[in-house]
Point group: C2
Chain length 335, copies 2
C-alpha cells in the first residue's frame, strides 16, 4: 500500500497477476470438477484459492480470486467460462434492444464476493487484499463479440458506427463495475485493480474518446474510498498516460515499455506496477534474476514501484520459479 502511494518501503513489494491459478498444483486439485464461475461464487473456495499463492510464494499481496465476467453474469447475462476458450456469451449484445438484458446490480447480487472478502481479510492479517474488476471496454468486447477475439471487429464496428449504443452499453458496464468494486471495498479490500486487458487494441485518440470517460467514471467513483486504484492493460504503450489520467494511483505496465520510460509518460503523480515478461520465467533462473534486477533498477525512477509480471502468470509456469523470484525481489530491493 505504501508503494502504491509513493511512500518509502523497506523492500519493493511483489505480487503476480494470476498468482492464484493453474500454475499451482494445489489450485488444479481444488478446482477439479468445479466450473470457473461456480468456483468464483463459493466463498470458502475463493478464500482457499486466493490464499494458496500467499502461503506458497510469500507474495506481499493477495488478489481476490474472481473472473472479470462475474459481475456481468450477476447482471443477468447468460454466459459460461469455457476451459481453453474463455468467456462465451450465449446471446451477444449487438443492438439497443439487447441492452435490457444487462441489468444494474446491487451489492446483494454479488454478496458471495463480499463474503469472500470478509473471510479473506480475517485470514490474511497484515497482508493486503487487492480487489478486482474488468473495465468497461474489455467487458464490452466479450459482450459484443460473444467471446474472446483477436480483432475486436464487432466491438469496434459498434464503437465507431453506433456511438450512442456504445455509450449506453459502456455506461451500464461502468455502473456495474463501480458497484462490484464498492462491494469489495465495503467488505474490506485494501486496494483495487481495474483490468482493461484488451484496451491495447485502440489508438490513444479512440481510447480517449470512447473508453476513458467510462473507466474514469469507475475510478473516479472510488476516489474518496481511501484505497489505491491500479489500472492495467496489455500492449498499452500508447495509452499509459491516458490510463493514468483515468483516475489511477498506480499504472500497470506490460513488458514492452521499460518502467523508467513509463514513469516519464505517466508523470510523477503515479506509481507503476510491473513488468517482467511472463515468458521469461521459461528461460532459466539466471535470465530471470538478471531481468528482475533490470526491472527493479528501472522501477527506481518511479515514485512508487509494485513488482509484478507484465501480464498474468502462464499456466505452464514452474511455481518454484515464482517463489524464488519473490525472495529475490525482496532481497535485492532491500539492499
Amino acid at each position: 500500500m505504501r508503494a502504491c502511494r509513493g511512500e518509502a518501503v523497506p523492500h519493493t513489494p511483489v505480487w503476480f497477476m494470476r498468482q492464484a491459478g493453474r500454475s499451482l498444483p494445489e489450485y488444479r486439485k481444488i478446482r477439479a470438477g468445479v466450473g470457473m464461475l461456480e468456483s468464483c461464487r463459493r466463498p470458502e473456495l475463493v478464500t482457499e484459492i486466493t490464499l494458496q499463492p500467499v502461503r506458497r510464494h510469500q507474495v506481499d499481496a493477495a488478489i481476490l480470486f474472481s473472473d472479470i465476467v462475474v459481475p456481468i453474469a450477476a447482471a443477468g447475462i447468460d454466459l459460461d467460462i469455457v476451459a481453453g476458450t474463455g468467456p462465451v456469451v450465449a446471446e451477444p449484445i449487438r443492438a439497443e434492444s439487447d441492452l435490457a438484458r444487462l441489468r444494474a446490480i446491487t451489492s446483494g447480487d454479488v454478496d458471495f464476493v463480499a463474503q469472500s472478502v470478509k473471510l479473506l481479510v480475517q485470514e490474511l492479517g497484515a497482508t493486503p487484499l487487492i480487489g478486482f474488476a474488468g473495465a468497461p471496454f474489455t467487458l464490452a468486447s466479450y459482450l459484443i463479440e460473444g467471446g474472446p477475439s483477436r480483432t475486436y471487429l464487432k466491438t469496434k464496428a459498434m464503437m465507431y458506427g453506433a456511438p450512442k449504443l456504445w455509450d449506453a452499453l459502456l455506461s451500464r458496464l461502468a455502473d456495474i463495475t463501480l458497484t462490484f468494486l464498492r462491494t469489495q471495498i465495503d467488505a474490506g479490500v485494501s486496494a483495487v485493480q481495474l483490468f482493461d486487458s484488451w484496451a491495447g487494441a485502440l489508438s490513444e485518440a479512440d481510447y480517449r474518446e470512447h473508453v476513458l470517460p467510462h473507466s474514469a467514471r469507475v475510478l473516479g467513483g472510488l476516489a474518496g474510498a481511501g484505497v489505491p486504484r491500479i489500472h492495467f492493460g496489455v500492449g498499452t504503450a500508447v495509452l499509459l498516460r491516458a490510463m493514468g489520467e483515468a483516475g489511477a494511483d498506480v499504472v500497470g505496465v506490460d513488458w514492452r515499455t521499460p518502467l523508467d520510460q513509463a514513469t516519464r509518460i505517466v508523470g510523477p503523480d503515479h506509481a507503476v506496477q510491473g513488468n517482467l515478461d511472463p515468458a521469461l520465467l521459461f528461460a532459466g533462473w539466471d535470465v530471470v534474476r538478471r531481468e528482475a534486477d533490470r526491472v527493479l533498477e528501472q522501477g527506481r525512477a518511479a515514485p512508487g514501484h509494485v513488482f509484478n509480471l507484465g501480464h498474468g502468470v502462464m499456466p505452464e509456469t514452474d511455481p518454484d520459479m515464482l517463489t524464488r523470484l519473490v525472495a529475490h525481489v525482496h532481497e535485492a530491493s532491500a539492499r
Copy 2:
C-alpha cells in the same frame, strides 16, 4: 514508388495488405479445392489472384500472392497451412540438432516465385508489383512454437535462454529470406515488404538485441538493389524507430500510432505506410471516409505516404468498401 522515395506524387497511392484474399468472391472461387501452399506454387494461379484486387479496386500496387512460410517450406521444413488456424509445423525447431532440417535455399528452390513475378510484371504494365517475405523473428516464432501463438512462450524461452541457438536459427532464416527476396527482385518486383508481423510482442531493448541484427541483414542485403524496402509489424509502437533503422525506406505503421507521430519517431529519412484500422471498414462509409481523411492529413507530416490499412484486410470485409476507399483516397489527396 515515388511516395516510397519521398518524391512528389499526383495523389497518395494506396494498396491494402491482404488485398488478394478471402474478402473477394473471385478469390474464394478460384481457390476452391486448392490448398494454400499449393496455390502459392502455381504461377498462373498466383498471377490471377494477385491481379484480382488490382482489377477490382484500382489500387496503385499489386502485392505478390504468397505466404510467409513459402521459403521455409522450400528450405525443407515439413509444414502445412491449415484453414482457420494458420501454418502448422510438423516438427518444431527446439534444439541445435533440429537446425539441420532448415537448409539454405537457392533461387532454383523458389523458381515458381520467379515465374509468377515474370508473368505478373508483363500483365501489370505500369502498376508496380511489391515483393513479399516474412522477417526472421516472425518465421522463427512459427518454427519454434509449431504454429500460431498468442504468448510466444517457447520462442522467447529460446531467445532469452539459448541465445546461441537463437542466433544460429535467425541467421539461417535471414539468409533464406534474403535469397527469397533477391529472387523476386531479379524477376522484376518494384519494391519489397518485409513482414515482421509478430515483432510487437517484444520490448525495444529485446528487439534491438535479438531481432534487429537479423532483419538488418535482410534489408541491408538489398540496399544496392534499387527497390524501396517496406518494413511492417503489428503493435510496434515502441519499435518504429528501430524498424526504420533496420534498413527500411518505408516504415509500415498499424492504427495505434498516428502517422504524424510515427514520422516524428522514425525521422525524416523514412516514408510511412498505413494506417486505417481494418475494423473501421465495418462501421459504415461515413466513418470510413472521415477516418481516411484523418489518415491522409496525418500522413502529410511524412516525406512520403503510402495509404494502407493498419493490418491486413479481414476476410469478412465488404469489397465494395475497399473500392470506394481507393477512389476516395485518390480524389481527396489530389485536391
